[in-house]
Symmetry: C2
Subunit: 352 residues, 2 copies
């Protein structure tokens, strides 16, 4: 298994000034490299404390690239629906070069109605814009004199500069919430998968993985390059009860922030987001103790968390875990404690 950190901000300006947030995140990125983590990841969200401190993951990851030398940098995710593919592919190619090939690009469809509204993108076009954007980036990276005649963009012949460091292109992953068809498409295309297992039942996730891996094998892709990223909220303390008490507090904070960000789902419906309102509601009202007990979050003392990781490996195999270590408005010292305890006591038992 591989383990990285996910720096998904869920704070507001009143809680933590942005400069402090970025200082802390750069420090955590350096620490992650020092402690042997596989990657540092961050998100694209806009306008609310739910991820809004990171409207452009590339900007933060470029700073992180300049402070590190071996750890991988992962967008989790960028949203092709909100950015022209030449802009998106261009800045990602810059980051791939600045980092000497340490970039993996996760693409997402986005799911917040308010974001679609602000960017004047119809949420029902989410899937088609995503598919077009991902494919346009892939071609801009891997081909020269690209002519693109899509539903949303037309351009070319153009040759993207800079050429990416990794050839034919950086590893690409797609984020999926719950749709087996998306998993199948990702497997067939040879893309990695980014999942949030906590929002689905274990057997649903297993089904999605089966579909993905079957499609991967059927397409003849190299099994050794398959990459499945799973995000987990992670909070460790020496003492199990202390970890649960504080982890619970930050988890409730995150849920409250998310609840406000997704409020628009109460007045939105889209065929492309079937059942989404319920999923969101489920997360928002989730029972933290049940999440702990069900290995939906990695919260507890080191031994307890190691058991949960073993459970997850038993369910899903040798996947890559992205540990959300800054949930809620937790002090950076607690993020550091989580990362150190995990690196000392859990990581060695599972890493390859």
């Amino acid at each position: 298994m591989r383990f990285g950190i996910n720096l998904f901000p869920t704070v507001s300006p009143a809680e933590k000034p942005a400069a402090q947030h970025f200082d802390e995140c750069l420090r955590l990125a350096e620490l992650a490299e020092e402690l042997g983590y596989d990657h540092v990841k961050t998100v694209e969200h806009h306008f609310t404390p739910y991820g809004g401190y990171s409207p452009d993951p590339v900007t933060f990851l470029a700073a992180a690239a300049a402070r590190t030398s071996t750890i991988r940098l992962v967008t989790g995710a960028v949203i092709p629906a909100f950015t022209h593919p030449a802009q998106l592919a261009g800045k990602l190619a810059m980051l791939d070069n600045i980092s000497h090939g340490r970039l993996s690009v996760g693409f997402g469809r986005a799911f917040l109605p308010d974001e679609f509204e602000a960017f004047q993108v119809c949420i029902d076009e989410s899937r088609s814009r995503f598919t077009e954007g991902v494919e346009a980036c892939r071609r801009l990276w891997s081909e020269q004199d690209v002519v693109w005649d899509g539903q949303y963009h037309k351009f070319g012949p153009v040759t993207l500069l800079p050429r990416p460091f990794q050839r034919p292109h950086p590893p690409m992953l797609v984020a999926t919430a719950r749709t087996p068809e998306s998993c199948e498409a990702a497997g067939a295309a040879g893309y990695g998968l980014m999942m949030v297992p906590s929002i689905n039942k274990v057997d649903q996730v297993q089904h999605m993985l089966d579909v993905y891996r079957t499609a991967w094998d059927a397409a003849g892709h190299d099994p050794s390059t398959q990459d499945v990223h799973m995000s987990y909220t992670c909070y460790l303390a020496e003492d199990d009860r202390e970890a649960r008490r504080l982890g619970g507090k930050y988890s409730r904070h995150t849920n409250a922030v998310m609840a406000r960000a997704v409020a628009a789902w109460s007045r939105t419906s889209s065929a492309d987001y079937r059942g989404y309102r319920q999923v969101v509601e489920k997360v928002r009202t989730s029972d933290f103790d049940k999440q702990v007990a069900g290995s939906k979050v990695l919260v507890g003392g080191p031994d307890e968390v190691a058991e949960k990781v073993a459970t997850i490996r038993g369910w899903f195999g040798d996947v890559t875990l992205s540990l959300q270590v800054i949930s809620g408005n937790q002090p950076v010292a607690e993020s550091i404690r989580t990362m150190r305890l995990f690196a000392d006591h859990v990581l060695p038992r599972f890493s390859a």
Copy 2:
């Protein structure tokens, strides 16, 4: 006067791999800070060796921010016509925080027909898109619950995150090639000005500056915050003739690269770019020795260049010079030599 470096790439993948380019530029940014330069600047261009290694100046400047601690970071320029204002304002606000308030944002209209075509933006909308984009960024930075009802974008109420570090917003500058009306608008708005004096006659530049400063004063802006950036190709060697020989070689290389990038002007005309075809042609066919003699470029030995800076100060006053120190495909050692010689022999005579 203040002096910064301008890292405008004019190389192709065949000449210099992008990873090497960025390694070198980060090294030059660190050196610039060490030597007491005021700022490091880079450009937004797409698809050709004329700036194409820098499709997103924010990505490079974020890496530079992480490697430096005092030098200012300047976009020279970002192009609002090609990016949604919320995306543009968002990533720039991230950079402002990552750098703890060291960002100055230069905005440009763009001028390459091929770029407008690729982004499916009508070149005749260049000015209106620029004006709308700059104003939308300013409001997203300085106000909360922004409602924007523009010609090209409609959104809100939204509150941009992160809030910029500098309040109400980072210093803003606008790039202008030759239009006195743009200078007047910039002065009235309290924005800085970015100019390329080599493409105009001295008295034209003086007229533009007069118009700008008159509008600035008339609007009652603080004279001490006025900022005029002028870009100059800069190449120094201990020996005057050696400097002219090599500076001329790189200048011709840059002109050839530019000539290919602007080729589309031969089949393009736009009321918003009156006389542009001729200006471009003039630069392309410019006589290097005349440029040296006319203080259009800062090329020569240290004393010779100091005399040129004195001439420029005499013409234009205490402006900020951005020195293009990577013109052509010059080895980084020569950029370093230029920066050291300038810092040792010229900078102390003119800096405040």
